[in-house]
């Protein structure tokens, strides 16, 4: 065991660090901020040859290894620019990855260069109000009309839809066959007539997500990815890359609770002097380190040139519910004062305690992840399925059915 770079890795890291140091920008340094800055950082990176490291050379990448990708991300984080790249992970990590694996040559030629330079930002149109965990249950209908498809339906939980130029989209092209067999996958120009984006206000107050309404939106058949009816397989390619994208960012709030424990009165002294608080801090720290060290094991896997399997979901599963329980205890330490904004805002505690609700749902709910680990890691048998071999339009979707 060692945490040392190989000589090649060390050299790569040094180059990356030097390049980032002399080229880095910030949200504030770009006019318009936000996605203008995100696009600009991608443009600069690509110009310098760092934009799409792991892509093949012919699409503007440099055939980098996974660990080189990891090293570059680490250096971006160390330089404080990682937020400029993370926000673009749906574009690079999911849309581009899917196009690369399953797209036509024409689609690759058209989109990959523009993705590489930050000219195209993408969003993901998968989930629907009726289909969250049961993603294959989507109802958004695509009907063939000559060389085009006409798409109508409602998508939800779409990050960055308001900024996106393009979207990856799963639709139902045939409701008379079993659910996984009637799906078709498209690339959608978000400026098409009939596309409407509405932000969703979350329980936490912010709006990280949107609803996207599709009303008679026309998509050329040339924007189809994979065969008609083969959309589930393409979607799985995207989702496999989603889990890789979400893994790794784990705010545990340990430093926050430590500060709270040191500052907050309890009984005759400070909270940190109390045995129960010390036990809480200890359990919190063990969990915090567990997530961190689990992440190191995933990095090690990548570093050895292997691809992490479904077991990588462990940290996502153990993040949300535990973080929520711990934050609840932190709120409790503040006692009567814990519900006032000042005590909360100082630490970002109230926001974290509301936002954490989403951690257990987004990117695979706890229940879905337990199924995945149970079935794909431990090899436990699946449940009897009442919906799998039935034509989709005969699967019950409400008590009335």
């Amino acid at each position: 065991m060692n945490f040392d770079d190989t000589p090649e890795q060390a050299q790569f890291r040094a180059e990356a660090r030097a390049w980032i140091a002399s080229n880095k920008i910030s949200f504030g340094s770009v006019k318009g901020g936000g996605f203008a800055a995100i696009r600009e950082w991608q443009r600069i990176k690509q110009k310098g040859g760092w934009g799409c490291l792991h892509w093949p050379k012919k699409y503007g990448g440099r055939d980098a290894t996974t660990i080189q990708n990891v090293i570059f991300s680490q250096e971006e984080e160390a330089a404080g620019v990682s937020m400029l790249s993370i926000a673009n992970s749906i574009t690079i990590g999911m849309a581009a990855a899917t196009i690369m694996h399953c797209g036509t040559d024409q689609q690759k030629q058209k989109h990959l260069p523009r993705i590489a330079t930050g000219e195209e930002i993408w969003c993901q149109l998968f989930s629907e109000p009726v289909a969250g965990s049961d993603l294959a249950g989507i109802k958004t209908r695509a009907i063939k009309d000559g060389d085009e498809w006409v798409v109508t339906g409602q998508k939800v939980w779409t990050s960055y839809a308001q900024y996106a130029d393009w979207a990856i989209l799963v639709t139902r092209s045939d409701p008379t066959v079993p659910k996984h067999k009637g799906l078709t996958y498209f690339l959608l120009d978000m400026k098409s007539p009939g596309v409407e984006v509405r932000p969703i206000k979350q329980a936490s107050g912010g709006s990280d997500f949107n609803e996207v309404f599709l009303d008679g939106v026309r998509i050329p058949d040339s924007n189809r990815v994979g065969d008609v009816g083969d959309g589930w397989r393409v979607a799985l390619t995207t989702l496999m890359n989603e889990r890789a994208t979400i893994a790794g960012v784990y705010p545990t709030n340990f430093d926050d609770v430590w500060k709270i424990a040191k500052q907050t009165p309890l009984g005759e002294g400070r909270a940190i002097e109390d045995g129960a608080v010390r036990a809480l801090l200890a359990d919190w720290y063990v969990w915090h380190c567990g997530l961190k060290n689990f992440g190191l094991r995933i990095q090690s896997t990548l570093s050895q040139g292997r691809t992490p399997g479904p077991e990588a979901s462990c940290s996502k599963l153990l993040l949300g519910a535990q973080r929520q329980a711990f934050l609840s205890e932190a709120m409790d330490l503040l006692d009567v004062g814990g519900t006032a904004l000042e005590s909360g805002s100082e630490m970002g505690l109230h926001f974290a305690f509301l936002r954490v609700i989403g951690n257990r749902i987004e990117g695979g709910s706890d229940e879905v992840l337990r199924n995945i680990i149970g079935e794909r890691v431990l090899g436990l048998p699946v449940e009897p399925r009442v919906d799998k071999d039935t034509p989709f339009d005969q699967v019950p979707t409400s008590r009335r059915d």
């Binding site: 249950g137 206000k201 329980a203 907050t264 519900t339 904004l341 706890d366």
Partner: protein, 381 residues
């Protein structure tokens, strides 16, 4: 024996629930959540008109003289409906403090007004974050003429913007005492203290030599007694909220289909809800015992109050939290009501001190009894 509410009490509950379902809709709760108003006046007035606040107060003070069990029933229904009114601050805290600590004159002056809703009261307990011992309070009081003046800052104060009068713990030369302070006087400044649950706004109150009256019976023991009694009443409010969120989750689990089945048929959901139901029934049982001690002034009230509060605080949060989880994405939207309970559960579990404080309160009560635990079932088997 009869360890349940009577038929009359259950009838009162049905009426209250019917009324609140109609008059305290989610739109009413949100009208306070999404504005700066300190409470919903229309609802408060209607409830006062029916005499609910005074349900447990003696008739001589303008109350209905029904009793504490009836007040517990009311609390449960108000909690269930997330009522955005200062009922609990005014009745569980201020009225209780005056009943327990006030002179006859103080009772006669204030209780009728609180019972009718003409005045709203509260207890200005908090002094910022942390579970410092109550007796470490920073506010002070001193004699001024025939009365007293109080100086200090209290925050957050539940219904601090709604209240006309506050019971204020402050230290004088004898130690901690309780003072009645009218809030519409020059020595009092207050502002809205943004709260984790804006449907139950809190205030920050600054007392600068504010004119005050000392409660007749007024020491740390009185304050503890008031808080213990309030804990039982709040525990019913929490119980109502817990049951409402659990019911919401159960209904959704029956209606929502995934994979061709109602999601409530999956053990992941079914067992979660069954476990919550069982925990809720255990918490309810402790609340009932608390209610009995309150209605009979039983000597075990302090332990019973702590058990009721600890159980109810925990289960309300659990139900509110898992209600959202069962709903999935929709549960995490602002437009959906599940987060109202998530917020409320945290505010109610903090208002008279959190779990850390109450665990200590409970153990001290047991130490005082030298652990004659309630039961003799407790043996190794």
């Amino acid at each position: 024996m009869k360890f349940e509410f009577s038929e009359d009490q259950e009838m009162m509950r049905s009426e209250a629930r019917r009324f609140l379902q109609k008059e305290c809709t989610s739109a009413v709760v949100r009208s306070v959540l999404e504005s700066d108003k300190p409470f919903d006046e229309r609802l408060w007035k209607a409830i006062c008109a029916m005499g609910w606040p005074g349900v447990a107060l003696p008739e001589q003070y303008g109350g209905l003289g029904a009793g504490y069990l009836e007040l517990c029933v009311m609390a449960e229904e108000l909690g269930r409906s997330l009522a955005p009114i200062p009922f609990s601050s005014s009745m569980f805290l201020a009225a209780e403090a005056i009943m327990r600590g006030g002179s006859d004159a103080q009772k006669a002056e204030w209780l009728p007004k609180l019972a009718s809703g003409e005045s709203i009261g509260t207890l200005a307990l908090g002094e910022g974050p942390g579970a410092a011992a109550w007796e470490k309070c920073g506010a002070g009081a001193e004699r001024a003429g025939s009365g007293f003046v109080v100086t200090g800052v209290k925050w957050p104060v539940a219904d601090g913007m709604a209240a006309d009068v506050a019971v204020v713990p402050a230290k004088d030369s004898h130690g901690l005492a309780l003072y009645l302070v009218k809030l519409d006087q020059p020595g009092v400044e207050r502002c809205l203290e943004p709260s984790f649950d804006e449907s139950r706004p809190q205030g920050r109150i600054t007392f600068k030599a504010a004119a005050a009256e000392r409660l007749a019976m007024s020491d740390l023991a009185t304050l503890e007694d008031v808080i213990n009694r309030a804990a039982i009443l709040y525990s019913f409010e929490q119980l109502g909220g817990a049951e409402a969120s659990l019911n919401m989750a159960v209904a959704y689990a029956k209606d929502r289909y995934a994979f061709g089945r109602p999601i409530g048929s999956f053990q992941a959901i079914k067992h979660k809800l069954a476990e919550l139901y069982a925990q809720l029934e255990l918490a309810r049982s402790n609340c009932y015992f608390g209610a009995w001690t309150l209605s009979t002034d039983d000597a075990t009230l302090p332990e019973a109050a702590a058990c009721a509060r600890l159980g109810a605080s925990r289960i309300y949060f659990e139900c509110a939290k898992e209600c959202i989880q069962v709903h999935g994405g929709i549960g995490f939207t602002w437009a959906f009501d599940a987060h109202l309970h998530y917020r409320r559960s945290k505010v109610l579990s903090a208002v008279i001190g959190g779990q850390t404080r109450w665990r200590e309160t409970l153990i001290r009560a047991l130490e005082r009894k030298n652990c004659t635990s309630q039961s003799d079932h407790s043996r190794v088997a």
